[in-house]
Amino acid sequence: MSEKLKVSGGTALSEEDIRSGKIFVTEDSLNCAYAWDTGVAINRYLAELKQGRIIATECRKCKRVMLPPRLFCELCFIPCNTWRHVKDTGTINTFSICHVHWDASRIKEGEDPHLPAVIEIDGASEGMGIMHILGEVEPEKIKIGMKVQAVWKPETERTGSINDIKYFKPL
């Protein structure tokens, strides 16, 4: 009965086929830029980051202190407008030691690996993490559960971006 199992098409090419001009290709790029409206909640989040603070919103019903802040509680489905400053310290929920750039090119010899982590921020509800990167730490020494603190850019260099926090370092 196995003759019913058929596969057809999928002609494999090599990079050389294309580079040599044997196989014709066209190239294109989208070249459209986007200016996403940040909205009320993220706008305030970014403005506070510029001031060196992290702000969250609290749901009046379930009392969750939510990060990143949002204008509504997605679980209770009611609007939120109670703002709460939270600390710039937290706990590593999970992390990675990454040897490739975002475009999949490998980091160069001697260059430090990227250290992304999910950090549960103190003062927000349990489990409320944000993604950021770690610094001033030996990669081998990073542990889940480790306490960390934000290292801020100098005030004059902050632009109202998540990058106003340079990284989180161990406490």
């Binding site: 989208l30 070249n31 459209c32 409206d37 679980l75």
Partner: protein, 387 residues
């Protein structure tokens, strides 16, 4: 097909050319909240499933369906996205209810086209990469080709297309959701800056931001939830070939609209659309599209739409009011949300809640959406306030 399905909740927000005040999430939250309130104050936890419609490049996000659940209250719920016009999203929601697995399904769509630097480039990215894109032309050239061929085939005139613009933008004056209301003359339209002649600047509907959420329910739930259910009598969608070189009836026809309407009419049990449909909200992304679609949807014979328009048949007081809301030319074009916008206007008319643009004694309406340049896909839906 035993199960009947109705629209039981309507909510929208935005409908502005730019919307820096809210993020898309916040805008959808607002529309969803209004929709759920409209449906008797239902909590989203009681909704069985959710359908969104979007395209990645319009949002600048890959796999944009990731960001759907929160603002609809759909966390840990069945949620799926349709990469198509939101009327197809509506069809998907309808099918889910008809399977019997779901009873209440929300469907949503939004536009934040103001966040794009170049919509043209996104539309151009929809054309064939080997045969069309290397020409490096503005994608509306396809509309120019279609319009020219349509005028040739149907013996319609440039003036008749311009008249669509004059009518729809004037209609828009009375619709609070419309932002392109204007009193303009045929001459304004014809002499406007050409884009891809014969298509001019005012033949093209303007971009709009906005969010729409509709709630659908099975017959028994609908009757519990609202005293104004709008029944989905029939729906049909179809795709002609996406290739410009092999369209079923050449570039001048809207064959997809004909196929979609045939299916919708059959499901709705409509034999004579002209007699049985009281008014229509029909795609007018480009001026000529309204005429072309009217003919394909069997609202009149081929080549007659322009003449009937001149006679006033499609005016709010005419035999078949078309786009009394202002259409896309008058309201603005909401991209993926365009189809739901047509349903929204149709449903409000059928509920008798259309305010100053309310038509009298309407029972059955037709909404039709096209997928835009360069596609050949359309969806038609027949709605009624009678079971």
């Amino acid at each position: 097909m035993s199960k009947r399905v109705a629209i039981v909740g309507i909510g929208c927000s935005g409908f502005r050319t730019t919307s820096t005040d809210l993020s898309y999430r916040e805008m959808i939250f607002e529309a969803a909240t209004k929709c759920y309130e409209d449906a008797g104050g239902i909590h989203p936890q009681s909704i069985d499933s959710f359908v969104a419609s979007s395209e990645d490049f319009m949002e600048g996000i890959s796999i944009a369906d990731e960001y759907v659940p929160d603002q609809l209250g759909a966390v840990l719920k069945p949620v799926q996205s349709i990469a198509g016009d939101s009327l197809q999203g509506l069809a998907s929601a309808l099918m889910q209810i008809k399977t019997g697995q779901q009873s209440i399904v929300a469907t949503s769509a939004f536009s934040k086209v103001s966040n794009l630097s170049h919509y043209e480039k996104v539309a151009a990215y929809a054309t064939d990469p080997a045969y069309i894109r290397p020409l490096k032309e503005h994608p509306y050239f396809i509309a120019g080709l279609e319009m020219n061929r349509y005028l040739f085939d149907s013996c319609s005139t440039r003036e008749q297309c311009a008249r669509v613009v004059v009518k729809n933008r004037y209609n828009a004056f009375l619709n609070p959701r419309a932002v392109y209301g204007a009193k303009i003359t045929l001459e304004d339209v014809i002499c406007a800056e050409p884009v891809s002649a014969p298509l001019g600047q005012f033949d093209i509907s303007g971009h709009l931001d906005g969010a729409i959420v509709l709630l659908l329910a099975s017959e028994e739930k609908a009757l519990e939830m609202t005293d104004k259910p709008i029944w989905i009598k029939g729906i049909g969608w179809a795709t002609d070939t996406p290739n410009l070189d092999s369209r079923s009836e050449g570039l001048g026809s809207a064959h997809y609209a004909k196929l979609a309407a045939e299916k919708a009419y059959k499901m709705a049990g409509i034999k004579s659309p002209v007699k049985e449909i009281d008014f229509a909200e029909i795609d007018d992304t480009f001026s000529y599209k309204e005429l072309q679609h009217l003919e394909a949807l069997q609202m009149c014979g081929f080549g007659e739409a322009g003449k009937l328009l001149e006679m006033g048949c499609f005016e709010p007081g005419g035999d078949l009011p078309v786009n009394v809301s202002g259409g896309s030319l008058g309201i603005g074009y909401l991209h993926e949300a365009n189809g739901l916008q047509r349903v929204l206007e149709t449903a409000l008319q059928l509920r008798g809640e259309a305010g100053k643009i309310q038509l009298t004694g309407v029972e059955t309406g037709l909404a039709f959406a096209w997928r835009g340049i360069p596609t050949a896909t359309g969806t038609a839906v027949v709605l009624s306030n009678r079971l």
